[in-house]
Amino acid sequence: MKLTVASSPHIRGNFRTNRIMLDVVLALLPALCVGVGTLGYRSLLVVGVCIACCVASEWLYSLITRSRNTIVDGSAVVTGLLLAMTLPSTVPLWLAAVGSVFAIVIVKALCGGLGQNIFNPALAARAFMLLIYPVGMVRYSSIAVDGVTSATPLHHMVMPGLPEESLWDLFLGKCPGSIGEISALMLLLGGGYLVWRKVISIRIPAAYLGTVAVLTLIFSRAGAPWEWMLYSLLSGGVMLGAIFMATDYATSPATSLGQIIYGIGCGALTVIFRYFGLFPEGVTYAILIMNAFVWLIDRYTPPRRFGTKKGGKAK
């Protein structure tokens, strides 16, 4: 009998990479369903193209570079799905395909692959798509009528003023917008599931949404500050960004304090970009900029060393 001599521990938990990815997909499904229901079946086509192109480019990359095939970990599926969630249902399919390849090859694989990339692949791809073909990214299909485009509630808020949709419509997802962002309820449900499954901690979403809430309440641009705050939270990509984008493992801090600082930074930048930026939305750029600070944040927010007081010095 050949006995294995290896380092402890000799048993391991059943927490696996592909299980995490499956949980993220499951958590996104309710919001996706509302997106398809509200914006029409073309949304599904966009999702299909994004996922297929992400998985295909992941496979081709591993084939060309003769590196290990990483499709089984499921991360390419998640990247594709997340990217699709940020796109309008009217996006040209070629643009979705280009974005997907960019996300996997340029943002992820060339930065070292899973866990090594500095920027969120889906958001970096979205930013790239806005750069090369902005027209394809800003036409939003209005409710249940394919082909007709309209402004999203967030567009109204740049006026500034409150949109015509009720808060309840925004909460449920009866409004125009990107495929995955319109139903705050379903996104919160998905987020709750991820927290329950311990896939993500509540720190980043809570800090992010909390910061947006506080800032929009203090610097309200409408007569009713509380209403303005709620509209700010429920419109655009804040929920999707705070729950699913800012919590991406590779591109967010690993320390508890770091996660809170990062969430606050994302929230503050989102509000600043929304108030003073050229585009109505600021989530994408807010998170991408904070991505760049992740390693720095982790470095300066180590947990207090066991047996020492704050500051790392012994008692």
Partner: protein, 436 residues
């Protein structure tokens, strides 16, 4: 639930596996192999020669400095004194004795002095002469630990957490013969004068707890602390934190926060040494795991080869992958089953292939789970990265030497990184740099 120490995990415990057999069987090895080094410190010199007849309990090795003696665990003839495989993976000079099966013992001298008249020197001398070491795994000489604790300790802790999965040796001791443990605690209380004396046990040992609750009225001053089960509660620093809220400073010993921690088996051994005059020649060992036919606890003579115990427990499964000395989280995998049980061996664990085992290409997702579960509040993901990069400066900044190698991070890691293995390398790098 209130978290009494930082981090920690909830592995599958599998303790019931070895507790269905309630009788503790003994085992009669044909030969025993007694290593001359079974403690942290200097090795013993052999006091016997090949061909000499020895009696049970006879001192066969002793030395100077940080050293406690070793004794014959059977009566019989010394057949060899030579280097033999040891659970540590190295070869250690050992005395091999052929058992004559007669158990002819040296005369033991009991001591019935009432507690209040028991003097410190006698107690410490008897602890040393009995060859007592920390039996929870650390194997630190018992008399030295007790001596260093004198006058500096306000809390005396008996550790029965046994937080590692599968192991039920301390549990069995408490279920079958708890009195020696409590009397051992009384003896050290007499010597150390602590304000608080605690027996700490995890709440997954219902039967032992019930038994202890029934006995404690007869032992005033001993407090029973039932802690919510979580690994690594039984690690010394974590247990002190859970019971007193105190954190042992990096690189310091428990005595620096006025605590002394001994395993319950050690207390039982102290009782036998001081009251009965018996040296440490046997202990309870759990033989368990999915790969053994009849998992159970045995009363084992020190020096009994692993293979004898495995055979006695019905033998190994054909697809056995690992045999471990100690627990699944921190134990040492063995390649040679002729290695003997030593004073600190609490378990022989036989495991099949782990379905969740190491990946071929481990990848860090940066999920941060390792940071959350680390009881020492380290950042395993960065430590791993910098060990791979060979960056000693960064490893020092990340306090890699604080790592207690409990394996919580590696257990939790979804990318299945070989974290503990790398941290051992990292510690070595830092220590080498420090001695330069």
């Amino acid at each position: 639930m209130k978290r009494l120490f930082f981090g920690g995990i909830h592995p599958k415990y599998n303790k019931e596996m070895s507790t269905t057999v309630t009788t503790l069987h003994t085992i009669e090895p044909r030969t025993v192999v007694i290593p001359l080094l079974q403690h942290i410190g200097a090795p013993c010199q052999s006091l016997v020669q090949v061909g000499k007849k020895v009696r049970l309990g006879e001192k066969i090795g002793d030395g100077e400095g940080l050293c406690v003696p070793v004794h014959a665990s059977v009566s019989g003839t010394v057949v060899a004194i030579e280097p033999r495989p040891h659970v540590s993976g190295r070869e250690v000079m050992s005395v091999v004795i052929e058992n004559d099966g007669k158990d002819t013992a040296v005369p033991f001298t009991p001591n019935d002095t009432p507690l209040e008249n028991l003097d410190t020197d006698t107690v410490l001398h008897r602890i040393r002469e009995a060859g007592i070491v920390g039996m929870g795994g650390a194997a630190f000489p018992g008399n030295v630990k007790a001596l260093s604790a004198m006058g500096n300790v306000d809390t005396l802790i008996a550790n029965a957490c046994e937080c590692e999965p599968y192991i039920t040796a301390d549990d069995s001791l408490l279920r079958t013969t708890p009195e020696p443990v409590l009397q051992g605690m009384q003896i050290l209380t007499r010597v150390l004068h602590p304000k608080r004396v605690v027996l700490a046990v995890e709440d997954n040992k219902a039967e032992a707890i019930e038994k202890l609750r029934g006995l404690l009225p007869g032992y005033p001053g001993i407090e029973l602390a039932v802690l919510p089960t979580r690994y690594p509660q039984g690690a010394e620093k974590q247990l002190i934190q859970a019971l007193t809220g105190r954190e042992v400073e990096p690189g310091k010993l428990p005595v620096s926060v006025n605590c002394a921690v001994f395993n319950v088996s050690t207390f039982a051994a102290i009782y036998r040494a001081v009251r009965l005059g018996q040296p440490l020649t046997q202990r309870i060992v759990t033989v368990s795991g999915e790969a053994i036919a009849e998992p159970q606890n045995f009363i084992v003579r020190i020096g009994t080869p692993f293979e004898d115990l495995i055979k006695r427990a019905g033998g190994l499964h054909d697809r056995t992958e690992r045999v471990i000395s100690g627990g699944p989280m921190m134990g040492f995998a063995q390649k040679d089953l002729s290695v003997p049980v030593v004073k600190a061996t609490n378990s022989i664990l036989c495991l099949l292939r782990d379905e969740n085992g190491a990946a071929e290409n481990p990848v860090c997702l940066r999920c941060g789970k390792c940071v959350v579960v680390c009881p020492m509040r380290l950042q395993p993901l960065y430590m791993y990265r910098f060990v791979k990069a060979g960056r000693v400066d960064e490893l020092q900044r990340l306090n890699v030497l604080d790592c207690i190698e409990c394996g919580s991070c590696a257990f939790t890691c979804p990318g299945k990184l070989p974290l503990v293995e790398k941290f051992r390398e990292g510690k070595k790098l830092v220590r080498e740099a420090q001695t330069k």
